[in-house]
């Protein structure tokens, strides 16, 4: 059978169109099959954009904020590295006023504000610079609830995100973290990390999926019950006008860290 060029091009063109169309069709079908296999836990806590309010009037001394940090670090198997301060790993930590809110220093400001232990965590920014610089999308913003997540499986340890984060919320595992986790206190339900990955607060995505509040919020509630006050950490949906967080924001004066950078943090401070 002989074929001229015109016929050959016709057949080649037609078959490539069919091929591309067929592949897309098959992939679409496959995705729909997979999607029907998995679902969200109906008990999960959901929001459009999670946010936190830190009421500093409730955090006067170490005994007020340390339970929150301890709860967080215990639940997530965060290593307690003490031999080198540069190798410290922290998801939640106290900070002085001048470090938390630089550019707002005032030598005549009352002493108590200078030395207040401002409780810091990842700000879960609306426009997170860490996500923009991550070359592997190991850190990404969840579209469903605005959590800035870490996918430890993908992290290559380049530390761009640490340079990108203006809040110092990220820690690098310079060494194997396992020896620095107290085995008697480790949480068998959560993984550890390995040497060479970056970690940070994930707003307890694994607890939210089970319908539990973040560990620090729960700890703050326990402290409040003990002291007979209201909790110092308030957690809720920033996009829901009826949420507790929004109620506080509409009544009290709150500040955020470095708002001039345009990252739009989701953690608010009442001083």
């Amino acid at each position: 059978m002989s074929m001229n060029r015109r016929e050959f091009i016709k057949i080649a063109g037609l078959s490539s169109i069919l091929g591309i169309g067929g592949v897309t069709g098959v992939t679409a079908l496959k995705n729909s099959v997979e999607a029907s296999q998995v679902s969200k836990n109906p008990e999960a806590l959901t929001a459009k954009r999670w946010a936190m309010v830190v009421d500093m009037s409730k955090f006067a001394s170490e005994e007020d904020f340390q339970p929150c940090i301890d709860a967080c670090h215990r639940v997530h198997n965060v290593p307690h590295v003490t031999d080198n301060p540069k190798h410290e790993v922290k998801w939640m930590w106290p900070e002085t006023y001048e470090h938390a809110f630089p550019g707002n220093e005032d030598e005549y400001r009352a002493e108590k504000y200078q030395h207040m232990p401002f409780l810091m965590l990842c700000n879960h920014c609306e426009n997170p610079p860490c996500v923009r610089v991550c070359p592997t999308q190991a850190t990404f913003k969840r579209k469903s609830d605005g959590i800035v997540m870490m996918d430890m499986h993908r992290c290559i340890g380049c530390r761009f995100c640490m340079a990108g984060c203006p809040y110092g919320a990220r820690s690098f595992n310079y060494k194997n973290p396992r020896p620095f986790i107290d085995e008697s206190k480790e949480n068998p339900e959560f993984p550890t990390r390995m040497k060479g990955v970056v970690e940070k607060c994930t707003l307890c995505y694994e607890r939210l999926a089970k319908g539990l509040e973040p560990a620090c919020v729960e700890a703050a509630k326990e402290v409040a019950v003990k002291k007979g006050t209201t909790p110092g950490l308030i957690f809720g949906d920033l996009e829901d006008p009826a949420s507790e967080v929004r109620k506080i924001l509409s009544e009290r004066f709150t500040i955020r860290r470095k708002p001039e950078l345009g990252t739009s943090p989701s953690v608010y401070y009442i001083i």
């Binding site: 029907s36 296999q37 998995v38 679902s39 969200k40 836990n41 997540m149 499986h153 480790e186 068998p188």
Partner: protein
């Protein structure tokens, strides 16, 4: 043939060296992997419930792909519940679902992985179940 004896001797030495691994290992083939599924957690279940997330054949062949999919669904998409082909629902978690039954990593995971000389890096982060007497 010039130097026939030497050439033959050389050939014999060469062939015996090349085939040495086969002779030296003898006929004792490496024991076939035999992953154990008799953990106390599994034995506690009633006979009818002793069924993995999917069929044994599927799990044998596809568990690695399934774990990768589970990982992406949970970490990246935020969905945590898996509905198996039998309609039963499971929480997608290596540490909290798989290893709760298969609490014998040494005699289950490692058994085949060592045989096949693969070393998946699950356990650099994920905590393996505490096995008694190890």
């Amino acid at each position: 043939m010039y130097n026939g004896g030497k050439i033959l001797l050389g050939l014999i030495i060469f062939i015996s060296l090349v085939t040495a691994p086969f002779w030296l290992s003898g006929k004792q083939a490496t024991a076939k992997p035999d992953p154990k599924i008799d953990t106390p957690e599994i034995l506690k279940l009633p006979e009818s419930d002793r069924q993995c997330v999917e069929s044994k054949a599927y799990m044998k062949k596809e568990h690695m792909k399934m774990l990768n999919e589970w990982r992406d669904w949970v970490v990246r998409d935020g969905v945590t519940v898996y509905t198996s082909t039998t309609g039963k629902q499971y929480t997608m978690s290596l540490q909290n679902t798989c290893m709760k039954c298969h609490s014998n990593k040494k005699n289950f995971c490692d058994e085949c992985h060592n045989y096949a000389a693969v070393s998946p890096y699950c356990w650099t982060c994920h905590l393996e179940p505490k096995e008694k007497g190890l």
